[in-house]
Symmetry: C2
Subunit: 455 residues, 2 copies
């Protein structure tokens, strides 16, 4: 039973796609840029389309012409440099965008005495910065604009903490916007649980990223102090491309069960906007998909929620576990990430399958069983994780960014079960935890948070 | 006046190229790998060759066949993942290799009581690890071999400090192997100037790199403590490809004057092995190129020296300088990196050129004038630099790795002049400094340092 499809992005006629399909951006280049932009765009789209696009590039034009026009200082392996993700749109980028290779999470605390009008000025400034930087241009105050010219899918995603939303006044402050309930597995460092504004700055190029977050920080120093920050990484675009399930520092494939960007599930589970399309996951009883975003205040329509957990991983003790022990703990094979009941990464886990001895193939205490067995189809989150490792003999872990329309219905049931029993807890310790309201995207001329401060 | 060409790599018949041309490595893959390897190899070779190779891939085979054989989980933009740099060869890799996107510098200090025989065991272990990891395989003790499978031009370069060389006994200890003379610009942190063994671990993929240095650290813990470590970065392979002159965090193009990989100049200036080829730079008096490596002890033949400077950059005060002031200080334009006397990055600076007012276009106190004017053609170094930025409000700078055959004749004349006068010193402070002997490369079956311990 499904309802009729409805337009998903009504009222935003000038909005563009902020999913996994970065367009070639208007990064200013002196000349000879349009063709490269085309290539970059095709390449950035990923998958087999790239083979076609690149082959087509060779087939459709003579080699001599290609050589004459090609700039010797740029080759196809660098095609991701000019790739941009649209900044404007109904949703902020950096959520549905396939995770980039690098992330800088910068949590900021408002300085004493800062008023709502100051925050608006600050958000206008940061919006202008982000709009320019993500499209490959230095913002006005940028004295090194050359460092902005290879955006490489740069995104800037704003998250609001409770303090900032309360300061806006007049608007409903969601009750979930604050510390999560305490879990027995937590060993939280209070310095990693604070902040009024979160900037999640992601990109495929580390130099572009470093410049971008410094620009944003420069324009924040009058308004806020650093609460905490973390650099995270995944495989580089050049080594693996985008949008693949990737491994964390335990060697596990991480994020297999995520809803796919652009899917009906994504719209419903993350943006809380059910379109009733036929590919929606129904409940076990065949009920129509719930509108998971119904609880969100009006100023958050088109937005979502972010639970950001800093999970320390004890690589030294993990090293001491052999591969069967690790696979037993996770419920998946280490090589392919297949559930122990199946053979392929994307096989649905069968929690009833038994081996020759009559034991379930997937332990009921394993991570995958605890995270998924017995939970309804709505109890899903969108993970966007980044590894961190700060040095030999120092900390390593995972920045676990979980986006979902409804923390109470989607995130917490999973987290409560994992906190109760999960064999993986032996090697992991949450040391940071924060909750953020992700406001909606904007149109040109607006600023991020406008619906909160002026809506 | 030149001498006859001589074989450069005599006595190493099985050695392969360790310059900027990474070959496709024997990374173990279950199936379907050979074609991708070919593509990756072509792509890794860079330049216009890539356009040809990729186009040829499309042209020479039917689209249907490609689609059938292509793994949907890998696209051409990820072609750099399987690219390898040979580990064995007359020289260590990671010197002539065009700098990768990421570096981890790990300096280690021998534990008390460690003897020469222990060091040999350790070096054998690290050699085996590096030989496997750089070619895309996990070493024997690796319990996450999947994290090794995308080497992405991983290299591991070993440097020996004075303590390790003295421990070997019996071999001449170079007098230059120890702290540099004190420069008035230095404000050294003694914790960043120590170490008996340096591992310079570089690669284009941050996950592969993190796994690699952790494997090397794991196999070092019984022998050594961490002296200091730094992560550095450059533009990603995916955004810019390899081998381009890149910008540092000041926005300057950095490394323009480097000798080209594979050139006679490189062989002479870095490896200290003049082949007398005609492309050698002669002195102003037309004298044949000096054998700059003549002073190196026998166990270092095929090796070189590394001066590693950790240069803090004050981005906040640099921000306050306008572009004309910055260009005046560096002697080059910020956009193209052209000397102020010319128009192109690779124009030779003309230190006598004057403007309409009769003033020299390049200030005699500028960085380029101080670094280059009046110094002979031998006074050149090979810079292999990485940026670092540890967080908003924290330190930023440049890991300045300078390779040269002769520190006294090549590095010190430049450094002394820059320490005396260089307008850039206003914004930079050397906070770390160390000197390393880079032993030669090895053949399969040998270990790095064998010429020192058993030669």
């Amino acid at each position: 039973m499904t309802t009729e499809p409805q337009p998903e992005h009504s009222g935003h006629s000038d909005h563009t796609d902020t999913t996994g399909k970065p367009s070639a951006g208007p990064a200013p280049r002196p000349h000879g840029f349009s063709r490269r932009r085309l290539i970059a765009s095709a390449a950035a789209a990923g998958g087999t389309g790239v083979v076609g696009a690149v082959a087509g590039f060779g087939v459709g034009r003579s080699g001599a012409e290609d050589r004459a026009e090609a700039e010797p200082s740029r080759d196809l392996t660098g095609a991701n440099g000019p790739a941009t993700v649209p900044f404007y749109g109904p949703h902020q980028s950096g959520v549905e965008t396939p995770p980039q290779a690098h992330a800088h999470f910068l949590a900021l605390t408002l300085k004493p005495g800062i008023k709502a009008a100051d925050v608006v000025r600050w958000l206008r400034l940061l919006t202008a910065d982000a709009a320019a930087l993500t499209q490959g241009s230095g913002p006005l105050a940028d004295s090194e604009p050359e460092l902005a010219s290879d955006p490489a899918r740069l995104t800037v995603t704003f998250g609001f903490g409770r303090g900032l939303v309360e300061l806006a006044g007049g608007k409903s402050v969601p009750k979930w916007l604050g510390p999560l309930e305490k879990f027995p597995i937590d060993d939280l460092d209070s310095d990693r649980c604070t902040g009024d504004l979160l900037l999640q700055i992601c990109g495929d190029d580390p130099l572009t990223l470093a410049h971008a977050w410094r620009m944003l920080w420069k324009d924040s120093r009058n308004f806020a102090e650093v609460a905490w920050q973390r650099d995270g990484f995944r495989r580089s675009y050049g080594s693996q491309g985008e949008g693949k399930t990737q491994r964390n520092l335990f060697g596990q494939l991480d994020g297999t069960a995520n809803p796919g960007p652009g899917s009906e599930d994504f719209a419903r589970l993350v943006w809380g906007q059910s379109t009733g399309r036929k590919d929606a996951v129904h409940s076990a009883r065949g009920e129509p998909p719930a509108n998971l975003g119904a609880h969100l205040p009006e100023w958050m329509r088109g937005g979502t929620t972010l639970v950001l957990r800093d999970i320390a991983m004890n690589l030294d003790t993990w090293d001491k576990a052999d591969r069967p022990a690790r696979e037993f703990a996770t419920g998946r094979t280490l090589d392919k990430g297949a559930p122990l009941s199946g053979t392929d990464e994307f096989d649905a886990p069968d929690f009833t399958a038994v081996d020759k001895r009559g034991l379930t193939k997937i332990s009921a205490a394993s991570h995958v069983a605890r995270a998924r067995d017995g939970l309804g189809p709505e109890t899903q989150i969108h993970r966007r994780t980044f590894n961190y490792e700060t040095g030999a003999g120092q900390g390593a872990g995972l920045l676990f960014a979980s986006f979902q329309a409804d923390i109470e219905r989607q995130y917490l049931p999973i987290q409560r079960r994992l906190a109760e029993v999960d064999l993986l807890n032996e090697w992991t310790t949450p040391i940071g935890s924060s909750v953020w309201a992700i406001p909606p995207g904007i149109k040109e001329g607006e600023y991020i948070g406008q619906s909160l401060f002026e809506g």
